[in-house]
């Protein structure tokens, strides 16, 4: 009834009316404004910090430094290594040093501008150095994380190959460029607790960090997700929440923060720039024999989600293909560049660029059609992945290729410069090789209204609606019977972050479990067979206390062997194939993406319209990654220099869904948020090669780079 239906989004009405309360829009009587003083140097000692200028500005109430922190001055999703406020040293441009709190925004910003900092500059490390011989930021060395995957014998595999292709691929920093910059409000409630409402992807995690920062128990803190204007991984780390909590704790007044766009670009984590040495071996018939991948990445001065990215790219090194011999290394290295962190796909979009380019070159060398080599090697049920996991179910990769195959076979270049490319991917749903459970609560509340309490954060991707559909389907009640209550640590249990394409699959399953509990109760009470109304059931039982049903799901995965990376990193994988048509103008190097055919194995489609929205958005982000997006420290300060695709840059998009149901997922569903993006840049690049015969080994392939490639091809001819 509700699964597979294009239900309108539950949050759409408020959003079209303009009444949705984004973090940017939160206001309170008597609220103050806080802003951050940030390092202007990539690496320096703080010799002297003079705040007298700030205090001289009328209306500046307080300048907060690390000394004002009652608890731990470190945070981090995976390692607690990043200071909220720098103590004696800064390690990147944009690192927070002070928080200036004033009566209003103008005053606070003026105060921040008047702080004088005497920096003792230290040579900055601006290039990742894997040798360990160069200058290092930490005494412990430059290596932040090192993960490997070993399967079979890659040297033997290479020796048995008829063709070997080897290239180095490079990518750069990408900004999330969510349209709502980091923002939030904090205050002390009637009970004396600290309340933070912010633009975030994870409320329970933020509460943990605030608790450590202020050294107060989590029960004394409430974190609420305001309507959030996009996340894409950039609102997973603590942004303004820590500063707000600190300000509220010190001043006991409501405090509001909102980053400027420039501040957001400066301070937010970035997609990891990766350098990928990739070697592929295959036999004459196209069967892949060996893949050797050596990846080096720039993590900046702190870990953020680096460990997760590092492991995930190693695990996904081969792409969605069965390869008997795999050797994958990924090293992330510390630098004084921007902090790299989580961004849609956790490194896999960069890797897809490499493995898909490689596969096309192997196919070219063998005289094969690119789709045939993919079908031949594609993972399917029974395949063994690079980590030795046997795919026992829900492996519809080849089916995604079959969906676009008719269009691929019928492709025709309509004019000079037109070209077609394929890009494929697989993606493990949820965190890699670690427990990542979600909880959910379903309640029979007043007047028999069913209330779904979830801690899952709706960041635009549509989790609210998907979770609601799962609850409705499980319960078999009417839409109007169910109320959604989400994004509040007071009323929900930890659902984990809205990241890793995990909420539909993991929170969805938890919601289903909770709803099944209520369903059993309602069945007992006569709702389904005796026609007893929900209100009657509620009234008959309400004296026994709240009717709460808990749901919990932790996907069945296992840790990976440290030395070999072997194990079961994920319970399930999403698969996708994109076919892209481009037109390259040789005179200018301009590449226009004309059309994309995108096929995704989503397990089970909960809401096809929402899935299509995710895929179209992923295509846009992939077009940006392929052709224009490039964060250059010190140069791309705002949207005037950091270009993301506009409506005129977007292709037409045809979406095809494959539903190879995942037995552990809610109604068979998996996830699609990141898969939507991952293969897109790869397919653009392969289409460019098809169009003008040049190979692209570095992203973005913007007009200048592409024209340069076209020109050098002319001269080598």
């Amino acid at each position: 009834m509700f699964i597979g239906r294009d239900l309108d989004r539950v949050d759409a009405l408020a959003k079209v009316l303009g009444t949705a309360g984004f973090a940017h829009d939160l206001r309170m009587e008597g609220m103050l404004f806080a802003c951050v003083v940030r390092s202007t140097k990539p690496h320096a000692l703080l010799r002297d910090v003079d705040v007298s200028g700030a205090y001289a500005v009328p209306g500046v109430l307080r300048v907060v430094s690390h000394k004002d922190i009652p608890g731990q001055n470190t945070f981090g999703a995976l390692r607690k290594d990043q200071p909220f406020l720098a103590e004696s040293r800064v390690r990147y441009v944009g690192e927070p040093i002070l928080v200036v709190i004033g009566e209003n925004e103008a005053v606070a910003r003026e105060g921040a501008a008047r702080v004088r900092i005497d920096y003792g500059e230290i040579d900055a490390v601006l290039e990742p150095d894997a040798t360990g011989k160069g200058r290092q930021i930490y005494d412990t060395g430059s290596l932040m994380a090192y993960k490997k995957v070993r399967k079979g014998d890659v040297e033997k595999g290479s020796a048995a190959s008829d063709v070997v292709v080897a290239h180095t691929f490079r990518t750069t920093w990408i900004d999330h460029a969510f349209l709502e910059t980091e923002a939030g409000i904090g205050y002390v409630d009637e009970g004396g607790r600290i309340v933070i409402k912010s633009s975030t992807q994870n409320i329970h995690y933020k509460r943990v960090e605030i608790s450590r920062l202020l050294a107060i128990p989590e029960e004394r803190i409430r974190v609420v997700q305001a309507t959030t204007g996009g996340g894409f991984g950039g609102k997973l780390d603590v942004t303004c929440e820590g500063f707000l909590a600190l300000a509220v704790h010190l001043l006991k007044r409501p405090v509001f923060m909102r980053y400027t766009r420039e501040e957001s670009f400066l301070s937010n984590t970035k997609r990891h720039p990766l350098s990928i040495d990739y070697k592929t071996g295959a036999r004459k018939d196209g069967t892949l024999t060996a893949v050797k991948v050596d990846i080096t990445g720039d993590t900046g001065p702190y870990a953020s989600y680096g460990d997760a990215v590092c492991l995930r790219v190693a695990v996904h090194a081969t792409g969605p293909y069965e390869v008997p011999n795999v050797w994958a290394d990924c090293k992330l290295l510390y630098t004084n560049n921007p902090v790299s962190g989580a961004m849609r796909g956790f490194g896999v979009p960069q890797l897809a660029f490499a493995h898909e380019s490689q596969l096309d070159e192997v196919a070219e060398a063998l005289g094969m059609d690119p789709i045939d080599i993919r079908i031949r090697n594609g993972l399917k049920r029974g395949s063994v992945t690079a980590t030795g996991q046997v795919l026992s179910a829900s492996a519809g990769f080849v089916e995604t290729l079959k969906k676009i195959e008719p269009f691929w076979r019928a492709r025709q270049k309509t004019k000079k410069g037109s070209g077609f490319g394929l890009g494929c991917m697989y993606y493990g749903i949820g965190n890699t090789g670690v427990a990542n459970p979600a909880n959910a609560l379903v309640e029979l509340g007043e007047e028999g209204r069913v209330i779904l309490h979830t801690g899952a954060c709706e960041i635009g991707q549509g989790s609210d609606t998907a979770l609601l559909q799962i609850a409705l389907e499980t319960l078999g009640v009417a839409r109007s019977d169910v109320l959604l209550d989400r994004g509040d640590t007071d009323t929900s249990k930890d659902a984990g972050s809205s990241s890793a394409s995990r909420q539909t699959y993991i929170s969805g399953k938890a919601v289903q479990e909770a709803a099944l509990g209520l369903r059993a109760f309602l069945d007992e009470a006569g709702y389904y067979h005796r026609g007893r109304a929900l209100g009657d059931i509620y009234r008959a039982t309400k004296d026994k206390g709240r009717l709460l049903f808990e749901g919990f799901f932790n996907p069945p995965a296992s840790g990976l062997d440290e030395a070999t990376g072997q194990g079961i990193p994920y319970a399930t994988y999403a698969f996708a194939s994109h076919m892209t048509e481009v037109e390259v103008e040789e005179a200018t190097g301009a590449c226009r993406v004309k059309q994309v055919h995108a096929a995704h194995d989503v397990g089970k489609s909960i809401n096809p319209k929402a899935i299509r929205g995710q895929i179209c958005g992923g295509v846009a982000m992939g077009v940006g990654l392929a052709l224009m997006e490039e964060f250059i420290p010190g140069k791309t300060a705002s949207f005037d220099a950091y270009y993301i695709p506009t409506s005129l840059d977007m292709p037409r998009v045809e979406v095809f869904l494959v539903e190879d149901e995942e037995p552990t997922g809610p109604f068979g569903a998996k996830g699609v948020g990141e898969p939507a993006l991952i293969p897109q840049a790869a397919s653009v690049v392969n289409a460019v090669t098809d169009a003008v015969g040049v190979h692209v080994y570095e992203l973005p392939c913007h007009v200048e780079r592409l024209k340069g490639l076209i020109e050098s091809k002319k001269t080598t001819k």
């Binding site: 925004e105 103008a106 910003r109 040789e586 005179a587 200018t588 190097g589 301009a590 226009r592 052709l627 224009m628 005037d640 270009y643 695709p645 506009t646 409506s647 005129l648 840059d649 913007h702 007009v703 200048e704 024209k707 340069g708 020109e711």
Partner: protein, 282 residues
Amino acid sequence: MLPPFSYIAVHSKQEALTSLASLAGAALLAGGTDLLVRMKKGETHRYVIDLTGAAELSGVKDRGGTLRIGSGMTHARIGAHPAIAKTCGGLAAACSAVGSPQVRNMGTLGGNLVNASPAADSIAPLLVHNAVVTLESIDGMRSEKLERFITGPYRTTIGKHEILTSVEADTLAGYNEGYRRVAKRAGWAISRLSLAWALNDADGVFKDVRIAVGSCTPVPFRPREAEAFLAGKGRERPVVEEAVKMVLDEIRRISGMRPSFAYKLPVVRDLLLSVLGGDSCS
């Protein structure tokens, strides 16, 4: 947030000229898409004189052989103006390509010229039309060729008390005219390079060739030597190639060799080859 200033709305050109003459430290506000961005980044002015109410600065007049275009005309209005489309097509095309729809609704021709960005879209086509700007002050009026008016990146000859009130451009009937910009994305982008042209040819012979290159040299420019070389010559590949070579030489002579030329010169070459060679590339 903007630094503080006193806001003055004028209701006529005369009032604008008087205010400008009498107030020290005044900036003129037209569309605001350049001025206010600069002010947000710290530029300060004691007074901001809003020209929106000066109706004389708007409108287009056909003066027989030339079009006089009011400096207060927005890019959107120029792009949609029938007379401009007919006899000044490159300008209409350029103004329709400026920034974004909102920028075109707000920004004006006068603002674009006075700002004098090397990437300003309106300059190259106006050079092709031998445009002359009219500058007025309380003391009088003067006219200057556009190519003289702009002296460098973001630099013009405008006096402290002058307002650029109108632009006069040759009407070019019977010319094949166009404008082409290259940018890093398809919408809402700054021109990396632009090219305006107006060609008059008959029976395969160039009668008059006008070319202007933007975003390449400090000021968009007309490669006069190449234009003169082409006049009277047949539209043949070797001729076109020679002319294109002359254009590239002129660019190098003006600017020296710049890192961006590794990209820009081959693009100018290829676009010009196709424009002069008779391919449609606009």
